[in-house]
Amino acid sequence: MDLFVINIIDGLIYGLLLFMLSSGLTLIFSMMGVLNLSHAAFYMLGAYLAYQISVITGFWVGLIVAPILVTILGAGVERYGLRRVHQYGHVPELIFTFGLFFVIEELVQYIWGRSMVNYSSPESLDFIAFSLAGGTIPAYKVFMLLISVGIFVALYYVLARTRIGMIIQAALSYPKTVEALGHNVPLVFMGVFGVGTGLAGLAGVIAGPSLTTFPGMAFLLGSIVFVCVVVGGLGSLSGAFIASLLIGWLQTFAASYNVGAADILIAMGYEFPKDVYYHPWRDLWTLTLPQIGPILPYILLILVLVFKPNGLFGKRET
């Protein structure tokens, strides 16, 4: 039971981190209709920039400055890249962001090298926040949790209470109308893309010390973010929120419990084969839940898309 509680907390931290990425992605998709495949690359960029700043000035400056830099970079990408490709249609846009992912990944390796960098949490957060079930939750994880919740609240406030939030909200459902109402759509696009990628950058800044800052980090997290957004329903912020938490917990619990296919098969009345390593069904008999944990989201993705192409909470046609 204690393990269950601690897994809930771990899954929550992970899920909220995912939400920080998927919220930006959803905002961008809602406004511009383009799924930003390079989103995770900005996440990586955030981590690396924060690392570079932290080497010079320490962690806290990096926490503020790196996301801003990523926001500027993201806005620049929209202004000088995406806007140009927009005229060719949706598929070229997707391909552009896909290519961008590659270039950013390569650039990061070009600048910071190909091995992992030593980006670590600040010493002031280097203590144990509390213990539970024989395990400890470090203060940094609590800090991550707080930042994520803070972002969530801020995002909610901006969208629900401010004018710009109204415009974005309206654009979620009626993008054409908003344009017709005379809002400077290109500027809004640039801003949303910048803020969206900035959120990804912030996620990178706080995840970097915990999940290791290395060139593969974008690829590792990249496709799972798409899963969150698509499962939640493209263009639905609350959908992205629920899907992110769902996937956070799904992955945490799948890794935590060693349920094996053998247990199930035996319960179903099959007999465990004697020499399992040479058995034709050996892969099934030795299969465990943690082994397939990381692919569960993809199964979910396919099922959702097949049976509910708009996602669990999506209203817009994808």
Partner: protein, 421 residues
């Protein structure tokens, strides 16, 4: 009325194919040494794969992030069949193996396509991504069939000899691959000329209107998807024959991404685009890859620039020039082109040199001397830095000036009255 009888057309349209066949036959006798046959085999396989991918992206407007799956599955089965043949449970000459791979690719695409082709665009792309991740993961888990991360290997020479050929040397394999490249390309070309091939273009351009002329967009996509799976399977079997081993790397996302890169660089709007793409990409990877560890960066930059400025790809660049040629105004372009060539080249070389120099100092700083374009120099001296920076700046500046002239000349050379551009 135009005459549509088959006879005349058949003779004139078979000429390019015969020329291609002749060239494919003499190629290995021109490039004998230096691993060129190995590279040509690799190019051949990539051509079939990229062409099949273009049936989806270019002709059908479906962006797939999991096309390597169909190649991989076809290849895995081909290796298993190779092993069955080796153990003499089955009689099958090696040159027929690609057909097996193709049928497996087709079968698998039939299953996946039945639900993934319902929508195009983002939904299709995301399903393909999910399937790609899923199959790649299964590859590691289901070791009975996929052999884990080591993969499955076979021995092509154990098949019954075909006309006395046992496919021991690279050259023999080359001819097998060349034959299938030509045959697959021909079949894929024929496919574009069929009603469903034509409708694939229509559905890509305007799915809704396609429905209003009587076609279900889903079925059109489905048929194209299955056909693409078939040819990807052929590529997989060719891979199995050439390398005699298949691993998870043959069907993971990375491989699918490479196919997309290669196809797009070649030009998705043209039938022969992927051929150029496959050649260029393989050479970038295999030949440029030996020269610099930044090959992937260059590939990425070329790709991005292509998407932004040349969405029709390399082939599009050639095809664009057919218009001034047809209008007889190509002469207008020669002068501005020759003017921009030198500064452009200087800019390009300068930029590459700077990138390489920075990379060297940053990551291989211990070695004082580096070699670039066959010239060795001291990275700690000022001269190379200044020289390369000057080349970049001056080259860029001059190119920009001349670029205006090119643009003007281009507008003049391609102006057609009454057409909206």
């Amino acid at each position: 009325m135009t005459n549509y009888s088959m006879k005349n057309g058949a003779i004139s349209s078979s000429v390019p194919w015969i020329i291609s066949a002749v060239i494919l036959i003499i190629l290995p006798f021109i490039f004998t040494g230096g691993g060129s046959i190995t590279i040509m085999n690799q190019i051949g396989i990539t051509i079939v794969l990229a062409m099949s991918y273009n049936m989806l992206l270019g002709q059908g407007g479906m962006l797939s992030f999991g096309h390597a799956v169909y190649m991989g599955i076809g290849g895995f089965v081909a290796v298993h069949v190779m092993n069955i043949v080796e153990n003499e449970y089955l009689w099958l000459p090696l040159p027929l193996l690609p057909l097996v791979g193709g049928l497996v690719g087709l079968g698998f695409a039939t299953i996946i396509g039945s639900f993934s082709t319902r929508k195009a665009g983002t939904v299709f792309a995301m399903i393909s991504l999910g399937i790609g991740e899923l199959i790649a993961a299964c590859c590691i888990i289901i070791t009975v069939f996929f052999g884990g991360e080591e993969g499955i290997s076979g021995d092509r020479t154990m098949a019954p000899p075909t006309f006395g050929i046992e496919f021991i040397t690279q050259k023999e394999v080359y001819f097998l691959i060349a034959f299938w490249v030509l045959l697959s390309t021909f079949c894929m070309y024929l496919f574009t000329q069929t009603p469903v091939g034509k409708m694939a273009n229509a559905v890509r351009d305007n799915p809704e209107r396609a429905e209003f002329v009587g076609y279900s967009m889903r079925w059109v996509r489905y048929v194209s998807f299955c056909a693409a799976g078939f040819f990807a399977g052929i590529a997989g079997a060719l891979f199995a024959i050439n390398y005699e081993i298949l691993t998870e790397q043959n069907l993971n996302l990375n491989m699918s991404f490479q196919v997309l890169l290669a196809t797009y660089i070649g030009g998705v709007g043209f039938f022969l685009g992927p051929v150029f793409g496959a050649i260029l990409f393989t050479l970038l990877q295999t030949v440029i890859g030996l020269q610099t560890d930044l090959w992937a960066l260059y590939t990425g930059i070329v790709f991005i620039l292509m998407v932004m400025f040349l969405p029709t790809g390399l082939t599009g660049l050639f095809a664009m020039h057919l218009i001034p040629l047809q209008l007889g105004r190509f002469g207008l372009l020669i002068k501005p082109y020759s003017k921009i060539f030198l500064p452009g080249l200087v800019f390009l070389l300068g930029t590459i040199a700077l990138i390489e120099l920075i990379n060297h100092v940053r990551h291989h700083g211990e070695e004082q001397f580096m070699t670039l374009f066959w010239i060795e120099f001291d990275t700690r001296a000022f001269l190379p830095w200044i020289l390369f920076s000057l080349m970049t700046i001056v080259g860029f500046y001059l190119s920009r000036i001349f670029a205006r002239e090119v643009a003007e000349a281009w507008g003049e050379a391609t102006y057609i009255e009454g057409e909206r551009r």
